[in-house]
Symmetry: C2
Subunit: 246 residues, 2 copies
């Protein structure tokens, strides 16, 4: 039995998110169907975590157990021949039996991208949220900095979250100010349901002056979702990287 | 009567090219339909030139004559409210009556983008052509340089071209070597049918070693389409900019 790991990149626009669900049409469904066809086994894959409908990934990590004789590195080539054009496996390797793409993950990095051009850039409309209006970047940076550390992020999680604990650690939350775009990069040891989208929505509110960066510590302490900003739209979000111990 | 000019950006993936044609579904159709609805006039727009099905634009230029009282600068806002998400007007202004977006154009610049990653970048798949294989960049640059100047480009035009003369001037043809991508930028006083795509296809052949950069002068002299490389796929091509006299 081999434990195969894959790094998967996808444009989530047309899918109901990563994880299998009753309404179908998920990234997991597409991957499992191809892996089953190649291995002739009833394989279930494990993803590093869900991504919502419309959310993208550059470096989603999955793993699965197989008796297939396909060499680990060969899986990439084999599976890509069966992928639609919006899902690409960019790497595959064999990992120790105990590797679990979700439980073993140590750090995840997400990117949230805002198109700040006066009129939307049509070439990135599926991957950026258009927001034309002056955004106060230093205030947004200050708000993001205030979120770094170990905190209970209940105020920044969907009330639908079923996690027993809402304590997580954000190692870094930074804003890159580019040509017609703002990119928020958030790295943490784990994220709650909608957490990065709520962080992005809150940063945008701070940038618009609807909320103050200095209020973030108090918002965290209140553990009340209604105190933070709105949940920013899914299409601006990309799971960039999942890191594991060496 | 005002002469209104607009700069238009579009993702050409879903259209049968810029120019109105019997099968419909063109960029021109969409623009004219919105302009007619706003002006209540039977307006025809003039584009700086055609773009093929699947070809994109960042800076297509159009103009039209109207008696509408909509202020020139206000057109951008008005028309974007009626545009699908893959067409955006990024600028509008009033120009002198004699301005003609095709006849007045002095220089056009096209970009052709090749995705050189081992596996295609899903986020740019609609705007780049995937080509994973070592491409010899210095040879490609030499080939592009050999195309600069005033030449008869019959060897680099579709045999379907109906232009009376195939003499054009290329001012610049350069290759930018980026992170997982190659960009060919070609600036000229005008381009023949499929010309930039044939230049791109030829540059790729030179990069693959299927053709030599030193052969370009002889290919030009022969005025024979079969001597140049293939016509590269449309989705890699973007009309970047059209320039006019001050």
């Amino acid at each position: 039995m081999k434990n195969i790991r894959m790094i998967v990149s996808y444009d989530g626009t047309s899918y109901n998110g990563f994880q299998t669900q009753p309404s179908g049409n998920t990234i997991q469904d597409v991957l499992e169907s191809a892996i089953r066809a190649l291995s002739n086994e009833d394989i279930r894959i494990i993803g590093s975590g869900r991504t919502d409908a419309g959310v993208h990934a550059r470096g989603q990590v999955i793993n699965f157990q197989t008796n297939s004789r396909i060499p680990a590195e060969r899986w990439t080539y084999a599976i890509n021949a069966r992928m639609p054009e919006d899902i690409v496996v960019i790497h595959s390797d064999e990992v120790p039996p105990e590797f679990h793409s979700r439980h073993s993950a140590k750090r995840k990095t997400y990117q949230y991208t805002i198109d700040t051009n006066q009129y939307p850039d049509v070439f990135h409309r599926r991957y950026r949220v258009h927001h034309y209006a002056p955004l106060h970047v230093p205030a947004m940076r200050e708000a993001l900095n205030a979120l770094v550390g170990e905190h209970d992020y209940t105020s920044f999680a969907s009330p639908q979250s079923t996690q027993p604990s809402h304590v997580r650690t954000i190692y870094e939350a930074r804003l890159a100010d580019g040509d017609g775009r703002l990119d928020i990069f958030v790295t943490g040891n784990g994220f709650l349901y909608n957490m990065v989208r709520i962080i992005a929505g809150t940063a945008i509110w701070v940038g618009e002056g609807k909320m103050k960066a200095q209020d973030i510590p108090s918002i965290l302490v209140q553990k009340d979702r209604t105190k933070a900003g709105p949940t920013a739209p899914p299409q601006g979000l990309t799971l960039l990287q999942v890191e594991y111990p060496e």
